[in-house]
Symmetry: none
Subunit: 144 residues, 4 copies
């Protein structure tokens, strides 16, 4: 299996929302992107603020941009902020370099896409993304 199907994306989204319910966190927005950085599916829970779709997308896009989860980008923002600023510019403002953007890989390590989640703390957002990926039987790469 090399592609990310809509069915898999929906499995990831539903499991991420279940995890959010378990954690009793704020409403989340979940974006699932294919390996080319294009939206496969997105949901925004009731009560989410208006820029959540761009933030969720930007986390997932940021992960795909460098091939690992956005926790790596977040660390780089401290160690070499000029790189993150430049990446922001080069992407036309499309990356959000905080945790919650997680690569989706198959058992062989092949990148199938990425999940981006926003709504609560970055750590909780990331936990929901990982739960969603695991529910689909796939491998999560948070960039830690």
């Amino acid at each position: 299996m090399t592609d990310l199907s809509l069915a898999t994306a929906q499995t990831i989204i539903n499991a991420a929302m279940e995890k959010a319910a378990d954690l009793k966190i704020k409403p989340i927005t979940v974006a699932v992107l294919d390996a080319g950085g294009h939206l496969t599916a997105l949901v925004r829970q009731d009560g989410s603020s208006i820029m959540r779709p761009q933030i969720a997308y930007g986390k997932a896009y940021g992960a795909l941009a460098v091939g690992t989860g956005t926790r790596w980008l977040n660390a780089n923002a401290e160690s070499r902020p000029h790189f993150i600023q430049a990446l922001n510019g080069a992407s036309g403002g499309s990356i959000i370099p905080v945790p919650g953007g997680v690569m989706i890989r198959d058992g062989q390590g092949k990148a199938l896409g990425a999940v981006g989640i926003t709504g609560d703390t970055s750590d909780n957002d990331e936990a929901c993304a990982v739960a969603g990926i695991h529910a689909a039987g796939l491998v999560a790469d948070t960039g830690a």
Copy 2:
């Protein structure tokens, strides 16, 4: 009821995909936007091309921009193309002025959001959007 919930958006999306299956058309991408033009939910069926999310979004956004379905924009593109070109620029390239962007209204005519569908002919895309809105017990405004 005055807001568009995620549950309603998902009802619209699922019914639109059922209509697409009945019509045996190409894979579709469906974007549901709230009344402020922000994504509530999006799905892109397997086999869709990469810019389908932007096209689906742009149809829905175009409807909300002027307060009626994109069939009205499509007619204007023939009668006064300079207005549609200008609207494209003013929106930062966010509107797609062809049929398939349909306003979602409640029984009192209040705008709740819009659906944009792309993948097959504009007429078939629009038929799926209307089917989705009706399945949610709401009123479709195609701009015809």
Copy 3:
């Protein structure tokens, strides 16, 4: 008098809304810009669609861009569409070249700013703009 005060802008806006009520037209959005093309005041009536602020602004900005009302731009869009397209690009998408953008001049012909109105037909939009400018004791230039 050489500047456009907020008080004058509000006089124009209120008279334009009274004219709209007299004409029993759809809800309007009114933007008043100073001579430098910067917003002095804007109102969007209840029930207006979401891009009306940009359209009202774009009509007023289009008038200021060339120093006459947007009826002139609308005529040019037919006689030399490449000019209007280029102006659209040069303005970063800020002009809307259809009637309803009207220059505000004092008795000596000096440009004080412009009004842009959108919501109904371009002719009705323009009539409200002219009524507003006259109510402030100033001179309207529609570009006719």
Copy 4:
């Protein structure tokens, strides 16, 4: 009541200007946005500089972007500047992350829109926004 009417926006604006007069501060610009981030009304007092409309808008939009007042964004700009920079890019430069962007909520906590004010110190700008919202009988969320 779930929507922000033009009448309510004007009540907020007038009370904010009264507060500014009481405080004897510099001329202010006030933008009121609906829950979707679209201008409902804007005024720029005589003597304001030319980018005040974008700054007022950007404060209100920044609040709506994340669902709380811009004092929260201002704090984040210190604790994780890369997030605020990224949000700036993702919004196309539309957010202004300093105090003075205040969410407007009804008694049940529902977001009705946001007010953005600029012209004096951020603290004074914010005080005027809060006064305006209270004058309309609504609840202000500064992000503090």
